[in-house]
């Protein structure tokens, strides 16, 4: 009598179980992909497809409500010779750079001021975040009224302290208009920096400050050599976030100046909007919007990789 191999090594022959759909679905990989399929299909349809279609549009001469003709990189060549386009590039970089710097410095100041012991701290923190949560368009309208050429409250207060009437034309003068949109963007974005950095500050162990103090570090040195290095990762992430969304800002400028006076505040997004929705040149507009991609893509990849690492 021969011993069957399976009995000898101690494994029973695997019984073929009836294969059910439920079991198949319950496998980890199958379950995952089935679960993720609807959101992935949605994103492919409404982000992936428009993105590719946008690239295609940028290579077309496409007046609105007409069929397009393929013109290769014609739109991009046109832009390279368009002085307004280069002004838009400069404006966007100035706007993003200055506003980001102001938000960073001001946000750090706000976080340091809030990281002390005092009464009503939670209520004050909630109030300070208001500019960030109120719909941008609505608060921007309030700023527009505050900077109104005839009845600006800012100017009336300035005149009250001795500035000669009628006071500066905040949105009518090219340089001042840029200054104004930068300040309002800063007003709106600063609380985000401040509250995020405050959360970072609160994770700094007090022992570190005590140790530094015992070692004779002054207030500035404690800030420079203890606080800043520990906050660096948070500052970096918040800054990248803010740069990405300031770079592609639309609402604030559209409401306040429409890109004027004389394109002095026109940014990529508002210029692309003017060309496509205003002048009806979808192809040219799409190519201006895509011109944001090199800088924006770089920032997005950098931030994604950094978030993944940390």
């Amino acid at each position: 009598m021969a011993i069957r191999l399976e009995e000898f090594v101690g494994i029973a022959p695997r019984r073929r179980r009836p294969f059910t759909l439920g079991e198949w679905v319950d496998r980890g990989t199958v379950f995952s992909w089935l679960m993720m399929a609807p959101p992935i299909l949605f994103i492919l349809a409404f982000v992936g497809y428009p993105f590719c279609y946008g690239i295609f549009l940028s290579l077309e001469d496409r007046p609105v409500a007409h069929a397009g003709t393929f013109i290769g990189i014609g739109n991009f060549i046109k832009e390279a010779h368009d002085p307004v386009f280069w002004q838009v590039v400069r404006n966007t970089f100035v706007y993003t750079g200055v506003a980001t710097l102001l938000k960073m410095v001001g946000g750090l100041g706000l976080a340091l001021a809030m990281n002390q012991d005092f009464k009503f701290k939670n209520i004050i923190r909630a109030l300070l975040l208001l500019p960030f949560i109120v719909p941008t368009v609505l608060s921007t309208v309030a700023w527009m009224w505050m900077l109104d050429p005839a009845f600006s409250v800012v100017n009336r207060l300035l005149i009250g302290i001795g500035v000669s009437p009628p006071g500066p034309s905040w949105l009518g003068n090219p340089a001042l208009a840029m200054f104004s949109i930068i300040m309002i963007n800063t007003w709106r974005g600063l609380p985000f920096y401040g509250i995020t950095l405050l959360a970072g500050l609160q994770t700094v162990p007090p022992e570190l400050y005590e140790a530094a103090t015992i070692d004779g570090a002054s207030g500035w040195h404690r800030f420079r050599f203890v606080t800043l290095p520990l906050l660096k990762p948070i500052i970096l992430i918040v800054t990248l976030f803010s740069v990405i969304f300031t770079f592609a800002d639309f609402q604030l400028v559209y409401v306040l100046t429409h890109g004027g006076p004389n394109n002095a505040t026109n940014l990529f997004a508002t210029y692309a909007f003017d060309l496509s929705m205003g002048a009806g040149q979808l192809g040219l507009g799409a190519s201006v919007a895509l011109a944001m991609l090199p800088a924006l893509g770089l920032l997005i990849v950098a931030l994604t990789l950094y978030m993944r690492k940390s």
Partner: protein, 281 residues
């Protein structure tokens, strides 16, 4: 922390900077409020002290509610915000749960792609999307914005929830699996009920973002009866060069109130989401 300052020093160190930030942050809201209750005769009189209201009136509010579609815009805004937040939370969970709990090939790549898409700003996509919406014949319908808002909200909710899901211990789910529950049952009955705080954070954020959205609404909604508050206020209360400042400020204030109320109830969740969404990642 040691608080050994004197009273005066405390005042200078704390209240001077905090007071400054508070005044700057809140002055526009103060100005909005008092403008909305000033009669026109006061608004456009340069000889009166501007910071006070001399003869308060509700005229601007009454005009806003009776002469424009403001109530309808508010309804549209709420409807769009609630539906697109709901859709985005459901799709976000479907994306985040497998990424947080399962090991499968491609998971890392998908998580990265989700994060990257979350960072893609609308101005990059609005022109082709406008064409897509036109071809689907959805112009001037709320469906247009209900479908497009989740393009930014789904990756956002998924990313925020992914971070939250990873902080929830696995033991309960493992126990349920051993007891014979399917993966779907485990997720629905055991896991999701544990995640309410995460849903509240993501939900409030998504709701706030929907209320704040302007570009898609501006392009897709050109008929007054389908507009949302931001677009309605900008497009219809500014007529040519004529500004109805009293009504504009009344509209801006009323339009901010829903977000402000929800925010005030859940401010801790909001701050938690703010700091975890961007910081912890």
């Amino acid at each position: 922390m040691v608080t050994g300052y004197g009273r005066l020093e405390q005042t200078v160190r704390v209240w001077l900077p905090v007071g400054f930030f508070l005044v700057v942050a809140l002055f526009p809201f103060y100005w909005m409020t008092i403008t909305s209750i000033k009669p026109d005769s006061e608004l456009y009189n340069r000889h009166l002290m501007p910071l006070l209201v001399h003869n308060p009136t509700l005229k601007h509010y009454i005009d806003l509610l009776t002469q424009t579609h403001f109530l309808l815009w508010t309804w549209n805004t709420m409807l769009v915000a609630i539906v697109s937040t709901g859709i985005s939370l459901v799709l976000g969970v479907m994306l985040a749960y497998p990424l947080a709990r399962m090991r499968f090939a491609g998971a890392g790549l998908i998580a990265m792609t989700v994060a990257a898409i979350y960072l893609v700003p609308q101005p990059l996509l609005f022109i082709p999307l406008a064409d897509v919406i036109n071809r689907l014949d959805l112009g001037n319908t709320l469906t247009a914005v209900i479908l497009t808002y989740p393009t930014m909200l789904v990756p956002f909710c998924a990313w925020l929830l992914l971070g939250y899901f990873k902080t929830v211990p696995k033991e309960l789910e493992e126990a349920a699996r051993i007891d014979g529950a399917s993966r779907l049952q485990t997720m629905r009955r055991i896991f999701l009920p544990l995640c309410t705080p995460g849903f509240i954070s993501a939900g409030i954020f998504a709701f706030t973002l929907s209320q704040n959205e302007f570009l898609y609404a501006l392009i897709f909604l050109t008929r007054s009866s389908v507009r949302t508050v931001p677009v309605g206020v900008i497009a219809e209360l500014i007529r040519g060069d004529v500004f109805y400042w009293g009504q504009l400020m009344a509209g801006a204030l009323l339009g901010s109130i829903p977000v402000a109320i929800i925010y005030s109830f859940f401010v801790e969740h909001y701050v938690a989401g703010l700091t975890s969404g961007s910081v912890k990642g």
